[in-house]
Amino acid sequence: MPENGIGASSVRREDIRFLSGNGKYTDDINVHGQKYVFFLRSDVAHGKINSIDTSKAEAVSGVVGIFTGDDFVEVGGLPCGWQVTDRFGEVMKEPGHPVLAQGKVRHVGDPIAAVVADSLEIARDAAEVINVDLEELPAVVDMKAAVEGGTLVHDEIETNLCYDWGFVEENRDAVDEAIKSAHHVTTLELVNNRLVPNAMEPRVAIGDYDASNDQSTLYTTSQNPHVIRLLMGAFVLQIPEHKLRVVAPDVGGGFGSKIFHYAEEAFCTLAARKLRVPVKWTASRTESFITDAHGRDHVTKIELALDENGMFQAIRTDTCANMGAYLSTFSTSVPTWLHGTLMAGNYKTPLIYVNVKAVFTNTVPVDAYRGAGRPEATFQLERVIDKAAREMGMDPVEIRRKNFIQKDEFPYATPVALEYDTGDYDATMDKLHEIADLDGYEARAKASREKGLLRGLGINCYIEACGIAPSNLVGMLGARAGLYESATVRVNATGSITVMTGCHSHGQGHETTFPQVIADMIGISEDQVHIQHGDTSNTPMGMGTYGSRSIAVGGAAMVRATEKIIAKAKKIAAHLMEASAEDIELKDGSFSVVGTDKSVGWGDVCLAAYVPHNYPLEELEPGLEETAFYDPANFTFPAGAYACEVEVDPDTGKVDICSFAATDDFGNVINPMVVDGQVHGGIAQGIGQALREHAFYDENGQLLSGTYMDYSMPRADDLPSFVVDHSCQTPCTHNPLGVKGCGEAGAIGSPPAVVNAVIDALNKGGFDVNHIDMPLSPSRVWTAING
């Protein structure tokens, strides 16, 4: 393994500041003279606002301003970034999403009024004396009930159905026919449980306005400051980009929840302009639970048709996807293009039809959460395959292997629109067999039985579409944004380099891994390269970090910019050595003339660019700085195979994860240690979903698991030491690094492995249980065992 550059496990340089308390998070920013906002939020899921009387609150000493929905009538609502067209050719229903509620509240946590005051306590005191005449209306929480009508979340659209999407619609009849005539059909109804993202750092927004130059600044906890600037500036507040700066400094975890444009960002920006004071909001953990966009929440029926040999013939799915009360920024794309296109998985199923009904309910909006649509696809597919194997008496590994797309069949066009460029699914399965010690399973199962415990083994595969995304393709599919990435590589006069990237690092380790790439290309040490991100005023327009895209798209942009740098530097070196640029070779930080002993160092060339005393000024501009925008030609397709072993206590229903092994094909790997960490984190979240986490709403729309007393996060001692491997590598064929992305794999691949393992344990223990909906809490497992 190299010690520097691509492939080195370089130590994460950003951890020094994080672990020593020197990280600079948004809440660490305090603008001189700032005031504090407290949002008065609805405590009912659905209600009509008859009147709001703020007179008593205005009289509270220290109150600077009070805002209600009426103050935001003139500005836009929060936009949705993806327009889905339904199976009848109609565009989706897109009700308004006001910054502060106007006339109605639609979920617990919907902001009714905002009080800006000298301190948060004063703002909170004043909010308590705002008199809201709120008429509670019946809430609609269950998706099936919502589809049937009755109570409407948005009266103006006259339905709770956002869209009824079919994919591929032309395949519908053929799929129906294949299922009707199949040798065997396995059917499974399941729920992909709603999750609260729970970033360690709650959201924060600070609005600031500089009247001297009419400049607004928003400091915010965001994964994509340029996207926020575009959405908020253009669609909500009508502030042009050159008058609006968005800064997202260190961010303590996002998992998707900090992609989206939130009401509090627009509020603080506008209130700062109106009040001429900086306005700061820091979410309490309680607010995080009821305002951060939730994840998942699909109810699905999947049918898998097989022939007598266990070959997959067709898949048909029918899903209700919860949108919550409003359309969050990318909510509509998650159950459609990020979900339906993945239903082929790693297999050669010839016919697939996916139906998704997106439904409004009186709950917090739902949007992308680590994996976003792909975990939902993988879960249902890998669960129904397991059930089919059991029904047909086949081994769960064998049924998968015989349906795999073979390595010599790539590029492979699936029936759901994607073209996988590379893969070798047998290789990852072979590796899994080895690292999970599947041959030793029976001995371990015997040991478990002797303890009175039921042991089970769960296997599954996954594929994901990452490196999001080709702009022309997503534009055709309804995206209202391009999904390229950008980088500016600025070489300084003495040879050090500052890279300004449109990506944003909030745990991924870009500050360590991106320099490894440049160090490798030029042959300098990594510590000569600094990564700058998170501020629209000093980074090129980029789309941010999500969808496992940063190295595949942002890294590619950085490579392209660096290639331009090297090309120019070769010309300078050629001039210095009086040779032709075509004859210049760059190796280990030194330019040499091929076939001679002439050479000039990297630093000398950089200095010449900025002190151009001896420089071809008539042919070449001085300076050494280049920008590149990179738009990918295709998605990338990381894939892998996972194995989980569990012990179930039949008396209590408690599930212990004994071991978890993951083999991932991420293509080329920049930093194996960072990749290990990303996979570990993803698996921990996936196990959290499988066994513990659940945003549980009652029929009145109250979130019963709204604190950590009831929302069960996975803790370190709930988890085994993971065994992970990414040595099976089929490099991506269409990006310059051959990389695929690794941020979401663990969260996508792990829930079915856990559930398959528990179901296997119960069946081997003599309990005829086909399925348990996540989370597989002790009580749910016990209830399944005890009928």
């Binding site: 950590y708 929302y711 002790p778 016990w782």
Partner: protein, 260 residues
């Protein structure tokens, strides 16, 4: 948090005096009270901080009795109670280190959270709760969830446990909070067996008297095979049904017997 007056009495008698004020409330480790205040769910006018009072600190053990002053933290109980290992083990498994370094035995018992661990130990091990006014047998102390016989301004000062021949506490964690979803504290004094159950009942901690009788005549796990706990009156929430909790009581009681 609403504004309040914070008093820091020098000694116990000053503390008791302060607690007689209108709207006064004692603040010990604050593991329940502080989050309650932060959520504006309580608004005491006066908080009397008793955490630092030397008179409320410490553990002593003699003649088969473990006496724990009310302000002693779970961490200290876990580390210093030697003659009653089941009690020390219980304390060592409350919350996390931060909670154990702040939370106190007096606070836990006075609060009588239906899922707390200490009430089960107190009820099973013939404890006496000594207050600023009187001594109360544990069998009379707990009234219902979050309810005890303590009067306004009455302060627990010490808890005396009779050390049993053998004892064991089985706690089944609520997955999120790691409070007891069900906890069973079993203590045996000769043929007198006590089985106290926390986490399960809508009425708070209780003794499972049928199991006590069965185990009194035959101290083996199989002695309660034929017993069933009535699910009526059990707590039902998102973490478990009445039936589930009733079943857990029996499972955990058998495990406690086996562990003794």
């Amino acid at each position: 948090m609403y504004d309040f007056e914070l008093r820091r009495p020098e000694n116990l008698s000053e503390a008791i005096e302060s607690l007689s004020a209108d709207g006064a409330q004692a603040l010990a480790g604050g593991q329940t009270l502080i989050p309650t205040l932060k959520n504006r769910l309580a608004s005491p006018d006066v908080l009397v901080s008793i955490g630092g009072l030397a008179e409320l600190q410490g553990v002593s053990e003699s003649n088969g009795v473990v006496s724990i002053k009310a302000g002693t933290t779970h961490g200290v109980v876990a580390g210093s109670v030697k003659s009653y290992p089941a009690l020390a083990a219980l304390a060592a498994n409350i919350g996390d280190p931060a909670v154990r370094n702040r939370g106190t035995i007096g606070g836990s018992i006075a609060n009588n959270d239906p899922s707390a661990c200490y009430p089960a130990a107190t009820l099973a091990s013939k404890a006496t709760i000594i207050t600023s006014k009187r001594s109360i047998p544990s069998s009379d102390f707990f009234v219902g969830i979050f309810e005890t016989v303590l009067d306004e301004g009455e302060l627990i000062t010490q808890v005396d446990f009779e050390v049993p021949d053998v004892a064991n506490y089985q706690k089944f964690d609520q997955p999120a909070s790691r409070f007891a979803l069900v906890g069973v504290f079993l203590a045996r004094y000769g043929n007198d067996v006590r089985v106290a159950v926390t986490g399960a009942s809508e009425d708070g901690v209780f003794r499972w008297s049928e199991a006590e009788q069965a185990l009194g005549s035959d101290f083996s796990a199989s002695a309660i095979d034929r017993l069933e706990v009535d699910a009526e009156g059990m707590i039902e929430d998102i973490h478990g049904s009445k039936d589930y909790r009733a079943s857990l009581i029996k499972v955990l009681t058998k495990r406690a017997v086996k562990a003794c």
